[in-house]
Amino acid sequence: MNLLLIALTPFIGAIFVAVISRLGRLHAAWAAGAVTLLSLILLLPLAVDTFAGQTLVQRLSWIPTVGLDVAFRLDGLALLFALLILGIGLLIILYARYYLSERDDMGRFYAYLLLFMGSMLGIALSENIIQLLIFWELTSLSSFLLISYWQHRHESRSGARMALAVTGGGGLALLGGFLLLGEIVGSYDLTVILASGDIIRAHPFYLPMLILVLLGAFTKSAQFPFHFWLPNAMAAPTPVSAYLHSATMVKAGVFLLARLFPALSGTPEWFWLVSTTGLATLLIAALIAFFKHDLKGLLAYSTISHLGLITLLFGIGTPLAAVAGVFHIINHAIFKASLFMAAGIIDHETGTRDMRRLRGLWHFMPHTALLATVAAASMAGVPLFNGFLSKEMFFTETLYGFDYSWGWLLPAGATLAGIFAVAYSLRFIHNVFFNGIPVDLPKTPHEPPRWMKVPVEVLVALCLLVGIFPVLTVEPILSLAAASVLQGPVPEYNLAIWHGFNTALWMSVIALVGGGLVYFRRHLIFRLHEQLSDRWEFKKGYNQLIEKLFRFSTVVTRLLDTHSLQRMLFVFMLFIMALGVSGFIAGDALLTGDRALLPVNGVSLLVALMLMIASIGTVFLHQQRLVALILLGAVGLGVVLIFVKFSAPDLALTQLSVEVVTIVLLLLALYFLPQYSPAESSKLLKCRDAVVAIAAGGGVAALVWAVLTRPQQTIADYFLANSVTGGGGANVVNVILVDFRGYDTLGEITVLALAGLGIYAMLDQLQLIGSNRDVEGRLWNRDMHPVIMATFTRLLLPLALLVSVYILLRGHNMPGGGFIAGLITAAALIMQYLANGVAWTQQRLPANVHSVIGYGLLIAVLTGLASWLFGYPFLTSTFSHLHWPLVGEFELASAMAFDLGVYLVVVGATLLIIINLGLMHSRSPHSGARKPIRKWKH
């Protein structure tokens, strides 16, 4: 499973980096580089097959019944993206090591960066589109962490939130689109989807599906009108911007367009939606970029503009346009990453990014200036640089628009955008590096550290190599990627620099000359812009929208929340009863069915009476809390007896042990709470509640009666029939838990673990003072650990543990199992704490219960994963019979390992809860009779 490993390496590496950064700041950088390199090394051998024209698909069965598999795919496009992500990622890691200052936490930075890298790799390498979506959302989340890296800055936080809101919202739309796509095709696998373009395009759901998918792609790629999040995301550290806005995050959107190109393109809807959006974005962003005074702001809008260009190319939809789109993805990633890095160097060395203050830096940092100039020339589309080649292809393809009536707009718009691209590139260079001498800079600028420039040099060298020798350098990977975008033969294209005097060349010439004119006449245009500015404030609209949303939710909350739990529960109960009664009246079924009834015997009657008396007693005496608690215990025991009576030994055992633990827990808690409930409800209110309660009870009784007197059709025959043969256990309840429905159980023990941790978090630092007297005002017994009890519990412990091990082992065939054994162990240990005190017991039981929970979950998950190793779906179980000396025939099922995980989680969570409550007791200052008794008014 190499592909899975490649995508997972950065995720695992993130944890590794976070841990290792404690040893030293720079360790994190080295470790992050090593992790990225490892991923790259894992990828390269597979690339050989891809270059041979193979599409590699690897899958692990996950939930096969609903078509969900963990499936990865490596073809040309995926390889290209993986190389960009890892290659540029490596350079970013090197660059960031010099960029980040002493105050910045390197471990956190590189851990986030690797999380993001893994998510991007996941998108690029996914075969299953639902899985792709999961990684898609992960990029939104991890980019949120990266953009808000400087958490103390307001603009970082708000920029990150905006990016998350917009791209997350797009992700939601994309989920809808993917589900529709899956419905149309009948599979979530890309292989199937890419081959069924005709079915998709002819389907009535095509248009809604297309719109939803495009919403996802456009929000991610910052297309107009969703572009506003990207400039606000510039609050991130520059290495993050360089990474997110060159090769990764925003490229995910155009990646999706390229990925689904064969399946979705080729219709008028596609052409209009995609090319119009692309053209609008290309033009508007190019204009805005020119007016930005912030270096990174200029680059941000130019990024949006170039993404618009790529989108427009895919929108045009000809095979050649798709090739050009892929080519521009590569070129843009290279020159934009280097430009962002250059901007970061300038910011780093001068202390400002404001182009009204920066000028003449050539004298101070000629080397950086040269690098930036090459990259900017590439962005402007100057011949001999890589940007020129793809821009020429783009200009040629816009001419295709002449086939449509408004089609002249395409080449005209493209040329206009080209003019402004030249203008803003020129501004980036001329304004910053020439144009006089700098005045009033926060720092005296100088060249950055040697190694900070290396990543820029590598990228700039690529700009030149691709620009001058395209056939030798980029051609193989380009044609490979283009082939997998088109899913068919790649059309003839020529990567030569000189194509003769054709229309595209003239467009280039117009752009270059026009751009120069615009730049040198910029004062006129700037003045015009200042009069018109604030018209394009999308951020304002977004903020208003968010504000309205908050106000709306406040209004709704006020409408529904009466600030009284009692009143709300009362209404809730009435509503439920109204539902039940109306349902009963609407149907014409009789209350009593025709099933034969069981006779009542004396013992059952006695137990039932005892149970009901104890219940009603609890209610009547509920103000005396301790008494009520004891009566509640009696009710619980009655419930246990009902379980025993009606053939549920497992439930009886579970309930019995839970009962013990619950009562101990409530007793511990009661110590800190008032011993009495004050009588504060009026008689009338009590009567009202009693009427509601009796009505609810009557309703439930009627419902139970109606069900029990009717015959049953069970769906459990499958479990009964297959328990021994399929699950290897005779105790069907246990086999259902750990085998047939193991997934559910995994979820449940996770909930249990979370509840335990939540309680731990709530109890942490909690200070409460318990009363030092009992209900009657007498002092508590000073002898907190009676000798006889302490001694007996110590003797009892090994026996109790033995019983629990026995219960655990036999659980597959006899009543028992992980849940019950866990509770018994917990109860046995809790008894030690009670009898011998927390301090004494903790000294002798140093095990950390947190890690017990962790190991439990780990074992359960690993058992599930182990079935993958043998090529079975997640959590498939297996079993065999062993003959052990002395013990005899012994059955060993993999489900038992899972049960062991359950056992550990139950023990850990239960102990975590009880011990921490107990620790509060030892923290509580409760000595001395001088303290006043806390009295509650009755």
């Binding site: 009542v600 009606f646 053939s647 808690a669 309660a693 105790n731």
Partner: protein
């Protein structure tokens, strides 16, 4: 027997509902415990009442109690315990933060 079970379930529910309508946290927790007893029993008896036929496969036996509700209830009991624990600790936290144990965090 069916009537008896219906009566028990009705009693448990009525007690639970009355208690959760009280104004202090501790009775509400007791009420929730009552309701989880009721719900667990309710789920179990959805498989109808069967006496002396536990769902443990033995040779020569063909008639068993329905194992599915039992599996559901088993985890429900444990999760119910976690919920009870969570709510009671929440009430402790409220007591510590607000100085009283009213469900709305105030004395009336």
């Amino acid at each position: 027997m069916e009537a008896l079970i219906a009566l028990i379930l009705g009693t448990l529910t009525a007690c639970g509902v009355y208690l959760i309508l009280r104004g202090r946290t501790f009775p509400v927790v007791l009420g929730l415990t009552f309701l989880s007893y009721a719900v667990n029993l309710f789920l179990l008896v959805m498989g109808r009442l069967t006496i002396g036929k536990p769902p443990i496969i033995m040779e020569g036996v063909t008639d068993y109690a329905d194992p599915l509700p039992q599996a559901l209830v088993l985890t429900a009991i444990v999760i119910g315990f976690a919920m009870t624990a969570f709510v009671i600790v929440l009430s402790l936290k409220a007591q510590a933060e607000l100085g009283n144990d009213h469900v709305d965090g105030k004395h009336k």
